[in-house]
Symmetry: C2
Subunit: 340 residues, 2 copies
Amino acid sequence: MLDDRKLDVLRAIVEDYVHTQEPVGSKSLVERHSLGVSPATVRNDMATLEEEGFITQPHTSAGRIPTDKGYRLFVDKLTSIKPLSAAEKRAIATFLEGAVDLDDVVHRSVRLLAQLTQQVAIVQYPTLARSTVRHVEVVAIGANRLLVVLITSSGRVEQRVVELTQDLDADVIADLRARLNTTVVGQSLADAANRVTALPQMFHRDDRAVVAQIIAAFAEAIVDNRTDEKVAIGGTANLVRFGDDFDRSIKPLLEALEEHVVLLKLLGEATSASLVTVRIGHEVPLETLARTSVVATGYGPEQEPLATLGVVGPTRMDYPGSMAAVTAVARYVSQMLSDA
Amino acid sequence: MLDDRKLDVLRAIVEDYVHTQEPVGSKSLVERHSLGVSPATVRNDMATLEEEGFITQPHTSAGRIPTDKGYRLFVDKLTSIKPLSAAEKRAIATFLEGAVDLDDVVHRSVRLLAQLTQQVAIVQYPTLARSTVRHVEVVAIGANRLLVVLITSSGRVEQRVVELTQDLDADVIADLRARLNTTVVGQSLADAANRVTALPQMFHRDDRAVVAQIIAAFAEAIVDNRTDEKVAIGGTANLVRFGDDFDRSIKPLLEALEEHVVLLKLLGEATSASLVTVRIGHEVPLETLARTSVVATGYGPEQEPLATLGVVGPTRMDYPGSMAAVTAVARYVSQMLSDA
DNA sequence: CTTGGCACTCCGAGATCACGAGTGCCAACC
DNA sequence: GGTTGGCACTCGTGATCTCGGAGTGCCAAG
């Protein structure tokens, strides 16, 4: 049903439409792309492509534009991720190089991604769930207040203030700090939360209550933080560039961008660090964003990605370019994090 | 030159225009507001108001709209901050009540403000400059890596990783931790940075180099953080509601919102916690935002505000309402912070 | 100083129209 | 059978025009 030439035609339509943002007709198509056939032939092909649901025409006697299904086929079969130029690679490297801490890495990445793709970029902070404990610190900051600081292998630092019902004994704290660290350093967060429950038993009867409180707070902090997944956003100014019929989608998109929970749904699960996932139009898990596409990928260790990053834009976007930028940035960020 | 009735006319024009977003003519003015005079009289008043530069007409034979100067007069002389309703106050209280930490307070405030005013809200994090040190912690997290954690009176926690050229001695660290705390707890950050420079002298000659490195990092962290002033943003989705001629300003505004440095300029210095400052159109320190106004105020202790919060919107905005919302939220936030 | 009257301006909404890009279909061709 | 050129037809777009109405400025009278 769909021979090679028809696929060529589809590819040409997508490319032209992405470029010009205008419905593309048979004549201008053969002019721009050397398909080796006449407009009439192209028209026939277009007719079948339309029957199959890959393209559609806004009005009778207008050119064709790709449907979501058309973009899907284009992304799956008709294009490969075009590698970035050497200059672009260098730019990425130097831009991310100067980052001093995790926050900085994330912010730089999101800016970079927004600039490369001229779209809205989203970078999720490395989840705590998959990282390991690098260090735990317990610090008295008042008569019966103390601070628990958790440093993870991904460089994320979480702190939590604990109010105690009893006063503190410095020796017990020091002891606890030592035991905590020997118990959990190097463990995954999930394991750490488990292992730690046995700790109170190791203390003198009188101290167990206090220790248990602290441990409980610590465990709770881990669990809480697993869901508290932060994201950084950049390039919202690019939204206005999209123009034309996408205007209607701007408001829902801006709203989604403020709801981090919704945003994370948009990005989706980080399945693998090397695969880039593309959601097109209706495939996006939000009805209001039917004219929107998401290109995302995981980053971090190959098999166990720490989090997701990606870009959001109109369905009519430069998929190959976005996919290239997203994968490239993800690769560099992964590298930065494993170095640190 | 400007008798009371003319001021009444100006007030009426501003109110109507803010409400309808359309140039207001003499006839509809007398219909809506009971001014007790005829349209012809109003026309004469309008003529003088236009001569004085308070209003202008987009085209000949169109109604009048206020100029920046007109809004300025309106804000300064013709309106008072209208107190919020009891219901609104209750809503604010309950909305902010549940906040668990500083981050939460800031995020809730920005959302609240955006919702109350239907505009873009900005909340600056409490600056470190004016707060005092509550606690300092020094923690070894590796052979020659350590973490300095700084907890301020405003509840902000800053951490910093220091790489050392020498290995660490646990006793020295403990000693340093103790001395650091006795030296700086309760001090303002500026004082703390000063006092701390004398510390290395108190250590054994062999350790001075390491200690000096740590102290340097600490001092640098303070100084850095003084300028590293974070902000939270909310309500960007409201931008699209503004509609009409403000559309042109959306892009520059979105760009400004991403540049936190620029944003802080927009908000301006927090002069007093009880005064609300209004910048209208050209008064805003960015040429590209000539159609934009900013309503902001400081929050925190009356005489020494910790930071600024406010809203940004089109010059044609509900000034009394925005001013009321901004001051109310600021008051509640100040209260929350002093409780903590 | 206020007011009613009046001539004038000019924006904006419709209406009309011509243009042209694009389509579908058909008959001819390779 | 797929391909091609021709041709009639559709229909959205932009240009032009008209016209009503809201609004103004000015003037003379109250």
